[in-house]
Amino acid sequence: MTANEWLPLAVIASSLVPGLAIFALPERRVVLRTALNLLGALAKIVLVATLLAGVAAGEDYAFRYAVLPGIDLAFKVDALALLFVTLSAVLWLFTTLYAIGYLENAPHRSRFFGFFSLCVTATMGIAMAANLFTFFIFYELLTLATFPLVVHRGTPQAMKGGTIYLAYTLIGGTLLLAGIVWLNNLAGHAEFAHGGVLAALSDAPVWQLQAIFLLLIAGVGVKAAIVPLHGWLPRAMVAPAPVSALLHAVAVVKAGAFGIVRIVYEVYGIEFAQSLDLLAPLAVLAAVTIVWGSFRALFQDDLKRRLAFSTVSQVSYIVLGVALFGPIGTVGGLVHLVHQGIMKITLFFCAGNYAETLGIHKVSEMNGAGRRMPLTTLAFSIGALGMMGAPLTAGAISKAWLSDGAAAAGMDWAIWVLWTSSLLNAAYFLPILWRAWFRPAPLAWPEEQIPARGWRETAWLLLLPPLVTAFMILAAGMFAESPGSPLEWAKLIAMREYRQGATLP
């Protein structure tokens, strides 16, 4: 085996092996468990950095293993895979740090961190899958690995959330499987390829290709929480905060959105999908989801539920970008994959901090929280402003590219959708910021658990991750044009996906 073959496997192993080892650890081995977690996370970042350097230099990384005649378990590392791999690997490190702080002295930590690592393993597999078969394997593994995390608390409420999560995702997985086998039957064993692979099938019945597309998108759309398949996401909010961060930013909804990107660009091919009239309905679906999610978020008093509906809306920005025919929209969608991740994870870290430190779970309890926890609230504000698309944040970059993409594709209505959503975002985020910064604090917090010590308003492991990710939001916004930024990487991918070659501003 050459280095180019084992590097993708090493990326998988860097979370799989620590995960399995952690399962076997007794509950009290805190130091060893933490060491394994961090070692895995850091090793993964080093490996990913190696891959980034290699792919930028035009190196090919691939691994394959025959499972059935003509069907391979295959990984490949291309620019698109790395976009997702890098995002997940970096955010995994911070989520792990946060989870270590968050779950201090909580029960069942070995189980928690074991499944946590399995989740990230599955995400890496999804990102690097070289065909739909491999994608499906890791997509289902992700479902199985997240269930124990969602129900981690073991309360009847958690169980209800977990059951609904399972019902949605398993049915989604079944639809996806049906679509994949059907496609396999029609087109043979298709590998993902730039520009798509189905264009060769232009003589196949159009209705079949459209039906398969519907099955595939419905299958991954469940995890991407596209309306009307989004019902599980707000209910899964019963999970602990690090899990919500994982669901919303690192793994689950991202896996769904990433699946849509792969299916549209590398299975159907954007140009072939356009010729089958598949993109316009997808864009409409995304637009409905964007507005509906934002609208529902307005009425949620529970902070995490408000954030959950915000995720429903924001993830469909990615889908909208994918569905806008034209490279500019593609760049907007891809870059939002990263930007939404760092923004939403910041918000969830902060929500967790409010809950753990002061017992605040509701928006109506946020009065004066900014004075008690200025740093957390600062990070929260940056995240919220980013979501609204305020200048200098990552969100502004995404929105600018998406609007330009809509204009370039001649879909001006999509610009209105984006503006409506921005206004709604402001309408549900600004009141929170107003309460936190400008309203007087109550006499007593709902349940103060962690006392302030000097500038440390809460445990430092809880404080550090949101500050770092908030910094990333600003950096991704201000240095968007620098080499190595998410935007530049998204441009590189878009250039490769359009066969006629794309011209980008």
Binding site: V67, L68, P69, R111, I137, L144, G162, L177, A178, N184
Partner: protein, 474 residues
């Protein structure tokens, strides 16, 4: 060890007799013998895979006068599966019974001897003898506990197995009357679509008899109570292996001598299989007791095996799917019964509701249950997933959309009953209840269940080998 075929039958007979004579050494004899058999089975598979014909004329008298033993890829696969499942189950049984059930070892030995002989036999009458041996040994195992419930279950089982083999024997007699031979190899070219009515009738009797023994819906009535009353290792042997033996015969006859006759009725087993999937899953979803849940799941999973009949064809997809399902379900069901055995032993209760909070106390056992569940649901990367994938592909090739729907729906129903147990296990135990006196789990029990479950998932990565073996020597 020149002839693995013969030794695969003689060895279990030998250690069964040994265990009967020296009960104190029964477990060790069984473990040593089965390990050797596993090695022999792999030897045989290597030989068959290399393209050698594996036939042995017992006593030097070949067919049609004597008795032939013969093995192809399917035989080798089932021989490996049987020994591979039996070995960890015997390790499990040794810890489970803790020297209290000396009757288990001789009976288990005769059971394995019967099964191995059944797989290897090349004539219809010889097969009948092995069927009876398997059936009687299995009834003995079910009755072993001696309680009223066990005896009732054993009698039901005895009745079903006797009716099944009786019908089979009647069919064999008719065939002998028409053709004057019972050797499968000689019969195959003789049977054609325009054969006398008696042969049609005989084929029908034999297949129905075997379906009763395989517990295909609606002949499944004996299966759920039988493991329900039996000790965990016995339930595991029964659900994972014994019912597969009669399925193997159906497949053999279907592809061999009866091939010209059965094409027109291929829809029937598939229809019954579909009904089994829905009815078995539904009963598993509604089951109160853990063992009943697992047993009904067997009824449902056996249904998948019968879906392959209308899909059998030159592309071999359906045959591969069937082989994969045999292996995956054999491993997973043994694991699941073993895991449930631990749960019942430790909590002292046997209902699904009582597993609340088990996730924290018996993580290894629960993991075993969950991994076995992954296989039953047909989720990747398990062997069950490959079976499901191949089956859907075979159905699509023949445009059988109805079957695709059945297969996919069956997977979802399996998820409902598997997660019924898992979510209960993750629940916090009811706080009002005072702590029950619980036994400590025996590590050996937990880990053998886990090993079987892990094998059922990991076998999905050895799909190529299984497909290659199934294609060999056919």
């Amino acid at each position: 060890m020149a002839e693995p075929l013969v030794w695969l039958i003689l060895l279990p007979l030998a250690w069964a007799t040994g265990a009967f004579l020296v009960p104190a050494r029964g477990a060790w004899l069984a473990l040593g013998g089965t390990a050797a058999q596993l090695w022999l089975a792999f030897q045989l598979a290597a030989k068959v895979g290399a393209g050698d014909t594996a036939t042995h004329a017992v006593g030097g008298w070949g067919a049609p006068l004597g008795i032939d033993l013969t093995a192809d890829g399917l035989t080798a696969l089932l021989l490996i599966l049987t020994q591979f499942v039996a070995l960890p189950l015997f390790v499990y049984a040794r810890a489970y019974f803790a020297e209290k059930s000396p009757a288990f070892w001789p009976l288990a030995g005769f059971l394995l001897a019967g099964m191995n002989a059944l797989f290897l036999s090349a004539d219809l009458f010889n097969i009948y003898v092995t069927l009876e041996l398997v059936g009687l040994a299995a009834v003995g195992l079910v009755a072993m506990g001696g309680g009223a419930q066990q005896l009732a279950a054993a009698l039901r089982y005895l009745f079903a197995t006797l009716v099944g083999s009786g019908l089979y024997l009647l069919g064999v007699a008719l065939i002998y009357g028409v053709y004057g031979t019972v050797a499968i190899e000689t019969l195959t070219p003789l049977v054609a679509a325009d054969t006398p009515r008696a042969v049609w009738f005989a084929a029908g009797l034999m297949l129905v008899g075997l379906m009763i023994k395989t517990a295909l819906f609606p002949f499944h009535y004996w299966l759920p109570p039988a493991p329900g009353g039996a000790p965990a290792p016995v339930s595991a042997l029964l659900s994972a292996l014994v019912v597969k033996a009669s399925f193997y015969l159906i497949l053999r006859l279907w592809l061999g001598p009866f091939a010209p006759l059965v094409d027109v009725v291929a829809w029937l087993p598939a229809l019954l299989g579909s009904a089994a999937i829905f009815w078995g899953s539904w009963r598993a979803i509604r089951a109160v007791r853990l063992k009943a849940l697992v047993a009904w799941s067997t009824v449902a999973q056996l249904g998948y095996l019968f879906l392959i009949f209308p899909l059998l064809g030159s592309d071999q997809l359906a045959l591969h799917a069937g082989g994969m399902q045999l292996v995956a379900h054999g491993l997973a069901k043994a694991a699941m019964f073993a895991a449930v055995g631990v749960l019942i032993q430790v909590t002292g209760r046997d209902t699904v509701a009582d597993v609340a909070g088990v996730a924290a106390r018996l993580p290894v056992t629960l993991f075993a249950f969950a991994l076995a569940g992954v296989t039953l649901m047909g989720l990747p990367p398990s062997g069950g997933f490959l079976a499901k994938w191949l089956l859907i592909e075979a159905a699509l090739v023949r445009g059988r959309w109805d079957m695709v729907v059945v297969i996919l729906a069956g997977g979802l129903l399996a998820a409902v009953y598997v997660f019924r147990v898992l979510r209960q296990a993750f629940l916090l135990p009811p706080s009002g209840e005072r702590r029950r006196v619980e036994r400590r789990p025996v590590a050996m029990l937990e880990w053998t269940a886990f090993a079987l479950a892990a094998a059922s998932v990991l076998v999905g990565l050895r799909g190529m080998e299984i497909v290659r073996l199934l294609g060999a020597g056919a």
